[in-house]
Symmetry: C2
Subunit: 339 residues, 2 copies
């Protein structure tokens, strides 16, 4: 009387029967475990393909002693998150670990996204730019291995990987100073993940270079719209800064749009630098000079660390925080200071 879960999908049992082997052997083959000859592997694989067999992930995951799934929380509408997703998929090609995605969007907050991943037996979580309070992040890290990407976490229980904002700011400022700029405005986004760090990095870098009095920190943001507003405020000033560093590329794009339309020559009158070096930065005719955070490296690191933490042999205690180097991609929005 029980059920009729019969979706018609073939099971391992079907493959085994059809190939004339035991079900255990099929399992061995699909897990890539030792215990089958190459010839048998090929034959069974062929039968499976012919039947259209797809291993049931729910059953595998339920029965497995260790979970090897990596849960990924990302935000829709964040192009940089999309690039990191690409990187995560690339980084896990050929690995037995599967990526389980969970999006944060208007109708779905981070807590729900995380709970969903837990319910799918993820062995570790990769959180892209998590926005939850720090206490919650730390608490979560006590439950399950967590890798926070693009946000630091001062706890021994949470791994994190960020780009080197201090280095990035140094590169940006050195580039500008070399071009003769001194009146430089940084458009900050203190409420975003990693926003405070980037602001401090700017302050420190300016100080080190003796620019403290000539430098301004102004309200920016992490979206194009906020960049637009910031640019409008800048245009209303009695004097334009000679260079602007934006919190990220999206903000820089908003600024650029407004400046170009206002007839401001970029970089003739104002130089502009973004952060991320996202796909759009390299696009003609934008050609934005930008501090390059490599989404691929961030993703690869996050995936590797997640896998390490899941495995029993993994390093249980090791530096939890990692800072990846950045580079400056110089394009067409920076040039010699006017005058």
């Amino acid at each position: 009387m029980p059920h009729a879960a019969d979706s018609g999908r073939p099971t391992m049992r079907d493959v085994a029967r059809e190939a004339g082997v035991s079900q255990s052997l099929v399992s061995i083959i699909f897990r890539g475990a030792p215990g089958a000859s190459d010839a048998t592997r090929r034959r069974v694989q062929e039968v499976a393909d012919r039947l259209g067999y797809v291993r049931d992930e729910s059953a595998r995951s339920l029965r497995s002693a260790r979970s090897t799934n990596i849960g990924v929380v990302f935000q829709t509408r964040q192009p940089f998150h999309s690039e990191m997703l690409d990187g995560l998929y690339t980084a896990t090609v050929g690995m037995p670990n599967r990526l389980i995605l969970s999006a944060v969007s208007e109708a779905r907050d981070e807590a729900v996204a995380i709970r969903d991943l837990v319910s799918y037996r993820c062995g570790a979580l990769v959180l892209l730019g998590p926005r939850m309070p720090e206490e919650e992040l730390i608490e979560l890290g006590g439950t399950i291995p967590v890798v926070s990407v693009a946000r630091r976490c001062p706890s021994a229980g949470v791994d994190w990987v960020v780009s080197d904002d201090a280095q990035g700011m140094g590169l940006a400022l050195d580039h500008l100073v070399r071009l003769g700029h001194r009146h430089i405005t940084f458009l900050s986004a203190p409420v975003s993940p990693g926003g405070r760090e980037r602001e401090h990095a700017f302050q420190d870098a300016a100080e080190t270079r003796g620019l403290t009095d000539e430098v301004i920190i102004a309200r920016g943001g992490m979206t194009e719209a906020e960049g637009v507003e910031a640019a409008e405020r800048i245009l209303s000033l009695p004097e334009l800064p000679s260079a602007v560093i934006a919190f990220n590329d999206r903000c820089a794009l908003g600024v650029l749009d407004v400046l170009v339309r206002a007839g401001v020559d970029v970089p003739g009158e104002v130089s502009l630098i973004g952060f991320d070096d996202s796909q759009i930065a390299s696009r003609k005719p934008i050609l934005l000079t930008s501090v390059r955070q490599d989404p691929m490296s961030l993703a690869r690191f996050a995936a590797e660390r997640a896998v390490q933490r899941m495995s029993p042999e993994g390093p249980a205690s090791e530096p939890r925080g990692t800072i990846l180097p950045v580079t400056l991609t110089i394009r067409a929005t920076t040039g010699p200071a006017a005058g």
Copy 2:
């Protein structure tokens, strides 16, 4: 000797023991099935929350007679897909159906993305702008209920939902004609999902309005970069068209960037219309006139149809294709024809 799957996560059994009820009852409560008083529901829920219980989705999904999971294939780097993801999450709030995401990216093709969803026991698939050959799409539809979004499929075995391109083109052309435009260029993207339909819609709409001789179909594309190239070709012509309709907003943005920088007055010299009315279209200072495809409506329809097809009582045969109406959002890139 079996395993040590003990992740420490509490199970239904733990909740039952702690709450002093049977495991069956906890299951009833978590499924929202009848058979428990409100008071008991509250009490058990409290215990579950206290223990940090999260229902195991692998087990639920494995044991359930019918799968209610909706698998979603989307493309990273497609902002419109992100908007539809938001819509899908919004549309499924409060429904028992869960969304399982699977991305198509550089390192991961559509076939792999789909296979992954099958392995997670999805009861139906929602494919955003599928790019596979039509035969494969039809074959897939024979295996599992499929809803193709933004691409038609002439088969009784596949549901699809698209925006009304014919209506959209009509709205766009009427708007332009009313403003006095006759020399109108359409930037096409024939290889993209739904690309051919949109091109035909333009041709038909132009014909209906007696514009056949004054209208041009040129190479466009679905990315900003292709829009940039198209705009550069347009600028090299002896005479500018009086209006341009782009395949989508991304293409239109590339065009707009180039025109603005070339000192072309938009809409003074050239009017510009996009398709999608994506978030970025409404952004200052872009303010792109665009044919509005509502991602929310597309998503809601896709989710509802997927649920219908999964349920045994669902309409087994009904119109499979649905065309949703569009609107024209008029902003700042369209104006009276010059002269």
